[in-house]
């Protein structure tokens, strides 16, 4: 009975915290104390609720009634929540003035966050600061809720602490402090872990210029960013699979694993969804690749850079050539025929464009203005897909829609995972009883059972290594492993 009270208290705390934010949105409330109180109430609310939810029960899997509760089974509560989240994203991306963003002086919700923004980075808040703060609060709060839920599973605890740490320190605090210490510099991304192509504007001209003009910090970010893409991430993916990023470090993954945990079972496991996934995510990768090549090429021409633009194009063609050769000679066994064909065709067409371009000396490398390309990408993928659909539709489509269908970073790491990595999920002999818990709770929509019941290891490019399949398995069949264990 006390636990019920604890749950209700938690819920009330959280709702009052949200209510204060809502009041601020309508310009009804103001003051730094209220801001901190509301954020603390939201955090405390989640923690108190989670205590009521889990402390009275013995440690173990806590999935009772998941498919009976409205919020976690696409009921009316889920639809309302989805609508509110979606609306919030639409406003953040396209109508920030409704939140109170104003050049002459913020009002509303944005102004409400000004005190925290001044404290951290030395200037007023923007809609992105509001968003970043709430995002971090969500990961911390629901991360703390996740830990008692999985308190019998050390892997889940360690992993959740990791995403909470990277969100708080690397995504939220560090960039703000760095901005405060370097107030004169133009904006460039200071989140060390947010690499291209998840950060799709990394190679855009304004961003490159800001980094190049950003002194030591700017140069460090430039080189670290490039090093992450070509060196650090492939090495870590080789040893640990893409989980080192997707379910341990990444902010999108962090939100999905914490705030999105109640929705992981909603991912579509049908063969049809899998077919859509393969085409869609690799199309986005292709889109970001083309955009980036075009943007860099324009930058090199416009800035009369030391790197010859044609040399850059030759480099891109060589890179594609080596990749295709690798697939043809070594990687072919691990990819289906249509996937290989797709790679050859895409590489061939891109190369053909680049060669024609070099021959006729056009500044728009794909015959489309690179600025249009990148603004389309920013609108359709960066905002609409990753934000509005990716998070707004959590309660309907599951928590990893963006990661599964859209994220080009996940696509690249997926290639590395499938082709090179030591990581796999191993199946324990013939112990599988085909119950389906693993597939149901796979947030990436992988039909884990299809492999487990055949006694096969699971090597899928989309697997983010969250480890929940292994956790929910009632017969101890699945284990995340980095390479084979010799018996």
């Amino acid at each position: 009975m006390n636990l019920e009270i604890s749950k209700k208290t938690g819920l009330s705390l959280g709702l009052v915290g949200m209510l204060i934010l809502t009041a601020a949105f309508f310009n009804l409330l103001n003051g730094s104390a209220l801001l901190y109180i509301s954020l603390c109430m939201i955090l405390a609310g989640i923690v108190v609720y989670s205590f009521g939810e889990y402390s009275g029960e013995l440690s173990g899997i806590k999935n009772n009634e998941v498919w009976f509760k409205s919020v976690s089974s696409k009921g009316i509560v889920a639809w309302i929540l989805g609508f509110v989240l979606t609306a919030f994203y639409v406003v953040i991306y396209w109508f920030p003035e409704y939140l109170g963003l104003n050049k002459e002086g913020n009002t509303g919700l944005v102004a409400f966050f000004d005190p925290l923004s001044f404290a951290l980075n030395g200037h007023g808040a923007s809609q992105w600061f509001v968003y970043g703060t709430l995002y971090t609060v969500a990961i911390l709060g629901f991360g703390v809720k996740f830990i008692p839920k999985y308190r019998h599973n050390t892997y889940q605890i360690v992993r959740t602490c990791s995403v909470m740490f990277f969100q708080l320190a690397f995504a939220f605090l560090l960039p703000e402090f760095l901005a405060k210490l370097n107030p004169k510099l133009d904006y460039f991304a200071k989140d060390l872990k947010n690499m291209w192509p998840l950060n799709y504007y990394f190679f855009e001209d304004w961003h490159l210029k800001a980094m190049l003009g950003g002194g030591n910090l700017g140069m460090f970010m430039l080189f670290f960013g490039i090093g992450m893409i070509f060196l650090i991430s492939p090495i870590l993916t080789y040893f640990f699979g893409k989980r080192w990023y997707c379910s341990w470090v990444c902010g999108c993954g962090g939100l999905a694993e914490t705030a999105g945990d109640s929705f992981r079972q909603l991912s579509d496991k049908s063969v049809k969804a899998w077919k859509i996934e393969r085409w869609l995510i690799h199309s986005v990768l292709l889109f970001v690749f083309i955009t980036t090549v075009a943007v860099i090429y324009s930058f090199l021409i416009n800035e009369k850079a030391t790197l010859n633009p044609k040399l850059f194009l030759v480099g891109v063609i060589l890179f594609l050539g080596v990749f295709c050769l690798y697939i043809f000679k070594i990687g072919y066994k691990k990819l289906a025929l249509d996937a290989r064909k797709g790679i050859y065709w895409a590489s061939g067409i891109i190369s053909a464009f680049l060669i024609i371009n070099m021959a006729i000396g056009n500044s728009n490398v794909f015959f489309i203005d690179s600025y249009s390309l990148r603004s389309w990408y920013g609108f359709f993928i960066g905002a609409a897909f990753s934000g509005v659909v990716g998070v707004g539709f959590y309660p309907i489509l599951g928590s990893r829609v963006w990661c599964r269908f859209g994220c080009p970073m996940a696509a690249i790491l997926g290639f590395q995972q499938k082709l090179l990595s030591r990581f796999r999920i191993t199946t324990n002999g013939s112990q599988c009883i085909s119950c389906g818990n693993c597939s149901t709770y796979c947030e990436m929509g992988i039909d884990v059972r299809a492999y487990a019941q055949k006694g096969e290891d699971i090597v899928r490019s989309s697997c983010v290594g969250c480890g929940v399949c292994s956790a929910v398995c009632p017969r101890g069949v699945l284990k995340l492993e980095n390479g084979r264990v010799e018996i």
Binding site: I61, N63, W67, N153, Y155, V271, N428, I433, P474, G476
Partner: protein
């Protein structure tokens, strides 16, 4: 030449036969089931009731799979088998002819003619229909009694408990699942079951179920009356073979089959829970109603039907279960009561336990029960096939560990305990 194969029953044994046979041949394959349209995992029914999954999640294959693989699924009940004319008749009057007939009709829950067992609110837990009945009836249940201390009993107790129903769990024996587990293992699980709020009563049998139309109470062997609105009968299962009574297929408890899973009628085979092996391998029972053996029988029979005559070889015994939050795996033979020539080593800590049985004289490893620590089947397959020494197993227990990363390891402690006992 394409042959007509009719399989009665779409459980794991029948469906495995169908799928494996499709890989090997272009035979015309039909699977008949009265219970469900598509194959589902029977062991997962409990998770549907608890809200972990929806029923469709228990189905490993989509509708398109059956169409693509040309396995025709027939919804219906078989009335009788007519071996003389190689045909079966369905309840709806239809007849189906076959070249090979596979009987995989599974089990039915045991009922021991208790007074009142026909009342409303008395049910076993085996079929999809049992789950549907329980679901429909559950709103009327405040208190329930589960009879029978085996795997299904503890699952049913967990299911009812998850809906906030007060459960009394009657176990006939002196310790939990004493057919299979040693007393100290049983005690650990009893403690866990009690911690979950189940009213576990050992040494208690059901005597009578009372009620006018529906269950109102039960009376136990000790004369105690327990008020309840539901009685779950989970006192084991028996082969579901009633429909064969008028055929000339030989039946004891189950359908009698030889090592090729063949009945006395040469083109009729029986597999899974309903089959009774006439000469089982050493240490194995004639009827083993478990998921894994059903699957292995299906794989074996598919080869035979495809023309590669293969004897049923279940290999080393293994099994698994979950008792509320405690996972259980077993490899090899670790009997509840040791044989004369055997010795055992037992270790237990915080709801985790390991019991290793070995030969007293030559110290060869014979089997292991593990609770709360996942272990690799591959490891024990090798150990058992090579007749490794118990010392080797203790020494290499770390390699057997299959727990997720960062889990606390107990191998050192187990090893030092073993060395202390066996110094």
């Amino acid at each position: 030449m394409s042959k007509k194969v009719v399989i009665i029953g779409n459980g794991v044994a029948g469906i495995t036969t169908a799928i494996e046979l499709r890989k090997l041949t272009d035979f015309e394959i039909s699977v008949i089931s009265e219970e469900s349209e598509f194959f589902f995992s029977r062991t997962a029914l409990m998770y549907v009731f608890m809200g972990h999954m929806k029923f469709e999640h228990t189905q490993p294959y989509e509708k398109s799979f059956w169409e693509k693989n040309k396995i025709s699924l027939i919804n219906g009940r078989v009335n009788e088998v007519l071996p003389d004319i190689n045909s079966i008749s369905l309840e709806n009057g239809k007849k189906l002819s076959y070249d090979y007939l596979v009987i995989a009709t599974g089990s039915k829950p045991n009922k021991y003619n208790w007074p009142g067992q026909g009342l409303e609110g008395v049910s076993g837990l085996y079929h999809k229909q049992d789950l549907e009945y329980l679901e429909k009836y559950s709103s009327k249940i405040k208190k329930a009694v589960v009879v029978g201390g085996g795997l299904i009993g503890v699952e049913l107790a967990e299911m009812l408990n998850s809906r906030g129903i007060e459960v009394t769990f009657l176990v006939r024996e002196n310790s939990f699942w004493s057919m299979v587990l040693s007393e100290n293992e049983g005690r650990m699980l009893e403690k866990h079951i009690l911690e979950h709020g189940i009213n576990l009563k050992l040494n208690s049998e059901l005597k009578e179920i009372k009620g006018k139309y529906s269950v109102e109470s039960v009376i136990t062997s000790s004369g105690e009356t327990i008020e309840c609105q539901f009685v779950g009968l989970t006192v084991g299962v028996s082969p579901n073979v009633g429909f064969l009574q008028n055929s000339n297929i030989k039946i004891n408890k189950g359908i009698l089959v030889n090592e090729y899973l063949q009945t006395n009628v040469p083109n009729i085979f029986a597999i899974g829970d309903c089959a009774e092996i006439q000469q089982p391998q050493l240490g194995r029972r004639p009827i083993e109603a478990v998921w894994y053996t059903g699957k292995i029988m299906g794989q074996t029979l598919a080869k035979t039907l495809a023309g590669e005559k293969t004897a049923y070889n279940p290999g080393n015994w293994f099994n698994s279960a979950k008792f509320f939050d405690i996972e259980y795996q077993t490899y090899g033979l670790a009997p509840a009561k040791l044989n004369e020539y055997q010795d055992e080593f037992y270790w237990e800590k915080e709801n985790k336990a390991v019991r290793i049985v070995f030969n007293k004289e030559n110290r060869v490893f014979e089997g292991i029960n593990t609770f709360g620590i996942r272990m690799r089947q591959d490891f024990f397959e090798k150990v058992l096939n090579r007749n490794e020494n118990v010392g080797f197993v203790i020494e290499n227990l770390g390699k057997a560990n299959f727990d997720p990363e960062f889990f606390k390891k107990y191998e050192k402690e187990i090893k030092s305990n073993f060395n202390l006992q066996n110094a």
